[in-house]
């Protein structure tokens, strides 16, 4: 799949923002007072900002953005529609929640809006993940590890942002560093499991199955078990299909980029967390490192995905 920067930035930025929003609401609900409310509202505002930046970027991906407002009408079947509706709900609840936090208002509305912000943030995160996971023609995406990755990576980058806030505003940041480290290790495990899953050959489709000659060419006489190859693709220059689905990344480069993504996205931030240096400057460096790592990871998520259309263009298998 073509790795479009607008979607890569969207999923990474809004993933971090959504993870941060959910964690801040949870901290406020379950561990009230651990972070001062001025830290909470700044964090929640940052979270909403990251989500808004991501959504703005995703609109850039549309070829006809004038009709973007229509995208909320098919919630019954479309994960993209569900994502749009959940995002609007999140902004309404999140903005009201930030307002209450700035006034440090206690009571039922804060609890209600806190939980609403958390649930809507999760709803957006799950919807984004399911857009990819529900696509049957792309086996590298049509796996349960796709939602697991999106949810955990969002919370991992969000937890690093929360740890940064804790380093800046909390008396004791230790618990936040530990939470981030825990989420980091789990997210790393999920990413490795994803790469292992897409490396398996079993669910792959072949060119022979795509053109219906998997059992050989039928007809009178014995069946010949045939393998097929492309003779001519029929078009002289690129098409929408080759531009959208034709992107390939060399195995060698993919391996190298995986190492870089692991080192920047997980390795260095985890080293910082293990060091226990609770300084906000160090925390910001870890966040920057993680985001760059996740941008590379997300680029690979697209670049390594192989759509079944590629079979018709001569790929032997997906």
């Amino acid at each position: 799949m073509k790795p479009a920067f607008s979607i890569i930035f969207f999923t990474v930025s809004s993933g971090a923002g959504l993870g941060l929003l959910a964690l801040i609401a949870l901290v406020d609900m379950l561990a009230h007072g651990v972070l001062p409310s001025y830290a909470l509202w700044r964090g929640a505002l940052l979270g909403l900002g990251l989500v808004a930046a991501g959504l703005a970027s995703s609109v850039l991906h549309l070829a006809n953005p004038r009709n973007a407002w229509r995208s909320m009408v098919r919630v019954r079947t479309s994960w993209l529609s569900r994502e749009a509706v959940a995002a609007v709900a999140l902004f309404v609840a999140g903005a009201a929640y930030v307002l209450l936090l700035t006034r440090d208002a206690a009571g039922a509305p804060r609890v209600l809006l806190g939980w609403a912000t958390c649930v809507f943030a999760w709803a957006v995160l799950v919807s984004t993940a399911m857009i990819y996971a529900s696509l049957k023609p792309i086996r590298q995406w049509h796996t349960r590890w796709t939602p697991a990755n999106y949810i955990l990576l969002g919370h991992w980058s969000g937890a690093l942002l929360l740890a940064t806030l804790a380093c800046a505003y909390a008396a004791h940041a230790g618990a936040f560093l530990a939470l981030a480290a825990l989420l980091g290790v789990v997210a790393l495990a999920a990413k490795l499991a994803y790469w292992r899953a897409i490396g398996a050959t079993k669910p792959a489709l072949t060119l022979e199955r795509a053109i219906g000659v998997a059992e050989g060419v039928r007809g009178p006489g014995p069946v010949s078990v045939a393998h097929a190859r492309l003779l001519d693709v029929g078009h002289s220059h690129g098409t929408f299909l080759t531009r959208e689905f034709g992107f390939v990344v060399a195995q060698r480069h993919a391996r190298g980029l995986r190492v870089v993504a692991l080192a920047l996205g997980f390795g260095l931030p985890l080293v910082w967390l293990a060091s226990g240096i609770a300084q906000w400057r160090a925390a910001l460096a870890a966040v920057a490192c993680c985001i760059i790592g996740l941008l590379i990871e997300r680029w690979l998520f697209f670049a390594e995905a192989r759509h079944t259309v590629r079979l018709y263009h001569g790929d032997p298998r997906t």
Binding site: N67, K136, L207, V213, S236
Partner: protein, 231 residues
């Protein structure tokens, strides 16, 4: 109703007439708007097509066969391109035809990602998704003679390798032929229930070896006949 196409891979000669006729008819389509071309007279012409013909070789020499493979929308009964569409631009009609409402499409590409066959192409000029309409603006047009109320690709095919009909009607020509000759849908394992059917190509005839008695007989007859023919 399940309107669709039956494509005979045994008789298709890969001439691309169906693809050209499709492009010609739909270039001025009221249903999907123009089919844009990008740099049609430039160094690398490209554009939107509803129907593309590709060519494959199946099997190994000497028992190999060329298969010409036209591919357009399968008008799936369980079409994911319709269910993933967030705007409601993609829809499936009661007669089985899957269409895109050009006024609602926002050009997000998700339906093209959801289609395993590559039947949908984004028109970057209009910013909307385009796809085969099964010539819905021909097949119901009472101003056309009854025999012309068929998709342009079907009418253009010089070897009659393309037929149009209702696959829900077991007595229709397409249903009958599909049943008789083992018509198959593409990648049924993905669960989209594609409606279009392909008739399988015949078994390739192996090329005879040098010392095969049939080849010796053939050469003997040829050497007897050729002085007569050349005279």
């Amino acid at each position: 109703m399940k309107l669709g196409l039956l494509i005979d891979l045994d008789t298709c000669v890969g001439c691309h007439a169906c693809a050209i006729a499709c492009k010609e008819w739909n270039a001025s389509s009221q249903v999907s708007g123009a089919l844009s071309d990008y740099e049609p007279f430039g160094a690398e012409p490209s554009g939107v097509w509803f129907n593309r013909v590709r060519h494959y070789e199946v099997g190994d020499y000497p028992a190999s066969k060329t298969i010409n493979f036209p591919l357009s929308c399968m008008h799936c009964a369980d079409a994911d391109c319709v269910s993933v569409c967030p705007t409601g631009a993609s829809y499936r009609r009661a007669d089985g035809i899957v269409l895109v409402d050009q006024d609602k499409c926002m050009g997000c590409n998700l339906c093209a990602w959801a289609c395993p066959y590559g039947a949908r192409e984004l028109d970057t000029v209009s910013g909307t998704m385009k796809k085969c309409t099964l010539c819905v603006d021909r097949i119901y047009d009472v101003m056309l003679a009854p025999e012309d109320r068929q998709p342009a690709c079907v009418l253009a095919c010089p070897t009659r390798a393309r037929l149009f009909g209702d696959f829900d009607d077991p007595d229709s020509e397409v249903s009958r032929l599909a049943a008789e000759r083992g018509g198959f849908g593409l990648m049924p394992e993905l669960g989209y229930a594609p409606v279009n059917r392909y008739l399988p190509p015949r078994q390739p005839q192996p090329v005879l070896g040098e010392d095969d008695p049939r080849a010796l007989l053939e050469r003997g007859l040829a050497s007897l006949a050729s002085p007569v023919i050349r005279r």
